[in-house]
């Protein structure tokens, strides 16, 4: 679980960076993911950052000491 949460965190941070820089050529997939230069929108980076934060919270729960 810890490893999966960490992988998700890294993936969402990368997605956030791509959606801010939107460097890819426009097509149906890159438009939907917010990675293309066609109509960049603030919604995508916000979504990826929220998901990255949730992954971090999951990581925190997964690494915490169990209750005694």
């Amino acid at each position: 679980m810890k490893g999966f949460a960490l992988v998700l965190f890294v993936v969402f941070v990368l997605c956030a960076i791509l959606s801010v820089l939107h460097p890819l050529a426009p097509n149906a997939v890159t438009d939907a993911l917010g990675f293309s230069s066609d109509k960049p929108h603030v919604k995508h980076p916000v979504l990826y950052l929220v998901l990255a934060v949730l992954s971090l919270i999951w990581l925190r729960f997964a690494t915490a000491q169990p209750a005694r």
Binding site: A32, V42, L47, V50, I57, F61, T63, A67
Partner: protein, 279 residues
């Protein structure tokens, strides 16, 4: 102002606000350009009013939920606290609609936001509500699935209710209708299913309207602060009255009257648009 009242009512009643936004203007001969920047900005304001009404209506619950969530994050551990459990269930239920909404909402609305598909989805919305009620009654009649409180929902059930909420991306499918049905099928009773649906809708509507606020400042927007405030207030008051009514309504009633309304409205619209009586 009529649009603000329509938004406040139809956003929370299980009848699809988006479906009504597509069907009503041509039926009532309202000449609204739905791609106009001023119209889009006004819609943002109306959604903000609706979200604020929901926040005010459930203010005590939200304060407890947010406190419990922050406490669990600081502690780094989940506890058996009821508000904390509901808070995390809401987070889990909000993730699917957040992802699907941001990634696919524009494409879905490009494909389906025209009267004939919307009328068909409105009828589908009716059948979903009828089927949900019938399945829940069958479960009750067998007596093997008693109702449980919201905090007893499992993570998978919360995810399922969240996915059901994503169906509302289709214009004509109601957000509250699909989430109430999913809640009923996850063994909530009607009042709890409705309360959970409204709690689940709050962050989604609030986030969607806050993220669209830049539209208010786009060049060409011809809505002043007085109109914006009035629209927000009217939508908010109507939404508050709607949620107050619906929470009382679902104590003793079910979704079927809304199902009949959606079935009749969808069938009528389908006939009118398919036969080109209304263009």
């Amino acid at each position: 102002m009529l649009l603000a009242v329509l938004q406040g009512v139809s956003e929370l009643f299980p009848v699809s606000s988006l479906g009504h936004t597509v069907l009503l203007p041509p039926l009532l001969h309202w000449h609204i350009d739905e791609s106009d920047v001023s119209f889009l900005a006004f819609v943002v304001v109306l959604h903000l009013g609706t979200a604020l009404a929901l926040l005010v209506f459930y203010r005590d619950e939200w304060v407890r939920i947010v406190r419990a969530l922050v406490a669990s994050i600081v502690r780094g551990r989940l506890s058996r606290d009821r508000d904390e459990r509901i808070g995390w269930l809401l987070v889990v239920g909000t993730v699917p609609v957040g992802i699907l909404g941001v990634l696919f909402q524009s494409a879905v609305q490009r494909l389906f936001a025209s009267p004939i598909p919307v009328a068909m989805f409105l009828m589908l919305n009716a059948f979903v509500m009828f089927a949900g009620e019938a399945l829940r009654r069958r479960q009750h009649a067998r007596g093997d699935r008693p109702s449980r409180p919201i905090e007893a929902l499992g993570w998978t059930a919360a995810l399922g209710v969240g996915l059901a909420q994503s169906l509302a991306l289709l214009p004509g499918i109601s957000r509250s209708g699909s989430t109430i049905v999913a809640g009923l099928l996850a063994d909530l009773d009607h009042p709890d299913a409705a309360r959970y649906a409204f709690l689940l809708a709050t962050p989604v509507i609030l986030a969607a309207s806050l993220l669209e606020i830049p539209k208010l400042f786009e060049p060409g927007v011809a809505i002043g602060p007085v109109e914006s405030l009035a629209g927000c207030l009217v939508a908010g008051i109507t939404a508050y009255a709607s949620v107050a009514f619906l929470t009382r309504y679902f104590r003793h009633n079910d979704l079927r009257p809304f199902g009949w309304y959606c079935l009749v409205a969808g069938a009528t619209a389908l006939v009118l648009f398919a036969t080109k009586v209304v263009a």
